[in-house]
């Protein structure tokens, strides 16, 4: 099981707590984690990645094991701490807008 933490707005939208768990088939990457997340919570489609391009939305960042991995390839393996469930894959909204 992969642990994922959501920003407050998305928790409310998905009706979850701060952290959810998802099952990922195959290699654990940003893409496979987010695919699994959207399968479990379809209302999150389009809110983290843009429709069509699947690009990360501009005001969001992804952290794995305390490291900002937002600019890494979505198909790169994530840190083993995420794969093992020791740490959560974090989706964070940028502090912007005053």
């Amino acid at each position: 099981m992969i642990r994922v933490t959501l920003p407050a707005h998305l928790r409310r939208l998905a009706g979850t707590g701060e952290e959810v768990t998802v099952e990922v088939d195959g290699p654990v990457t940003q893409r496979s984690i987010l695919d699994a997340l959207e399968r479990s919570y379809p209302m999150l489609r389009g809110t983290i990645r843009e429709y069509g391009t699947n690009k990360r939305r501009a005001f969001l960042r992804f952290f794995a094991n305390g490291i900002d991995v937002s600019l890494e390839s979505p198909d790169a393996p994530v840190a083993p701490e995420i794969t093992s469930g020791t740490e959560a894959f974090m989706i964070i909204g940028a502090i912007a807008g005053g």
């Binding site: 707005h9 409310r12 939208l13 389009g46 429709y51 939305r57 005001f59 969001l60 940028a94």
Partner: protein, 371 residues
């Protein structure tokens, strides 16, 4: 029991304001979707318990919500608005071409006859239609693909399709308005569109009488006379008596003819309401006095409505989708401000009372009437 329900969209959530026909005592529920911008909510005339809401913010994009129980509970519905084909480009602020990019839904217009059909006007300007109660959306691309499309340019608020009016007599006729392209009409259910901007004169664009390029802020219609339209343009208030084929200015004695919303009395089709705003540089009322102006002559002769409205130090704005009328015997008129007030008049504008004073900035107001 007769009464009304106001659907109020704000910068930080949605609020539902309900009253009996007296419209003196109000119940308020909300915020629904707290922290999110609610650009618009609108209910189905076929099933008044069905309400749609456009929920968005800069971080997480566009969410769509639907309630089937009058706003008590909500469910997220389809939020994919994909332009048909390769979207192409439109004119950007600096005159260069810029890719068409979906940003948000500005306006929702449920069908007058089909319970599962609803239209959405979006930024960058396009019209979408759903026939499954918002589960999926399909672009009516004939509008965006009009040969003038590459010349459309955003207004200060973005290139938004903000007005959708469904003709109650001719189901194939729809009017839309886009900032800053102008007004358009289809007579074949959305396949083809024609600009309807003849008579508009916009001194701030290179060709003041161009076929497209006008910053139309809002259009309103009384459903008993679908060929008569009233328009609040960036500057100027206009009317058309031929379904938009031509327009004449009816600003008359307005103290300023800049503004955003315009509404028509539900029983008196020549009675029109606007909220004059000082200028495009100063988006607040003249002299700090919030005023509605009413014409009972279809324009040109305007009467100041002041009773119950702020007399001084009022520097709010009233946005284009933030005014509505009910259909009770004594027509109710409502508007919301960027200062978070929602004002109501239960007698056609003679007297005004704030229903609420301290909401987040109001983006939109719609009203449902229960007879």
């Amino acid at each position: 029991m007769s009464g009304v329900r106001l659907l109020v969209g704000t910068r930080k959530g949605a609020f539902l304001l309900t009253s009996d026909a007296g419209r003196k005592d109000w119940g308020i529920s909300g915020p629904h979707f707290p922290g999110w911008e609610i650009y618009h909510m609108n209910a189905s005339p076929v099933n008044p318990d069905r309400i749609y809401a456009s929920q968005s913010n800069a971080w997480f994009g566009q969410i769509m919500q639907r309630s089937d129980d009058g706003g008590a509970t909500w469910s997220a519905i389809g939020n994919e608005f994909a332009y048909e084909g390769i979207p192409g480009t439109h004119q950007w602020y600096d005159g260069t071409q810029h890719p068409w990019e979906f940003k948000r839904v500005w306006h929702l217009e449920p069908s007058l006859t089909e319970v599962d059909t609803v239209y959405a006007g979006v930024e960058d300007a396009a019209l979408f239609k759903s026939t499954d109660a918002g589960t999926t959306w399909t672009e009516l691309s004939g509008l965006r693909l009009h040969n003038s499309g590459p010349s459309w340019q955003p207004g200060a608020g973005g290139m938004c399709l903000h007005t959708i009016i469904l003709d109650p007599v001719n189901p194939d006729r729809i009017f839309v308005a886009i900032s800053a392209a102008g007004a358009f009409r289809t007579d074949d259910g959305g396949k083809t569109w024609k600009p309807i901007n003849k008579g508009l004169n916009s001194q701030y664009i290179p060709d003041p009488t161009a076929e497209v390029g006008h910053c139309v802020h809002r259009i309103a219609m009384n459903p008993t006379r679908p060929d008569v339209l009233f328009m609040q343009k960036h500057w100027d208030v206009l009317r058309s008596d031929n379904a938009g084929d031509s327009w004449v200015e009816v600003s008359g004695n307005l103290p300023t003819d800049f503004g955003f919303p315009i509404a028509v009395h539900s029983h008196e089709p020549e009675t029109v309401y606007v909220v004059p705003i000082k200028s495009d540089a100063e988006h607040f009322p003249l002299d700090g006095k919030l005023r509605v102006y009413r014409s009972k002559t279809g324009g040109n002769e305007w009467q100041e409505l002041a009773k119950g409205l702020p007399e001084n130090n009022c520097y709010v704005n009233v946005l284009r989708d933030a005014m509505a009328v009910d259909t009770l015997d004594s027509c109710g008129v409502y508007f919301g401000t960027t200062g978070g007030q929602v004002y109501a008049s239960s007698n056609g504008g003679d007297d005004w009372t704030p229903i609420v004073r301290d909401l987040p900035a109001v983006l939109s107001v719609e009203v449902q009437t229960f007879q």
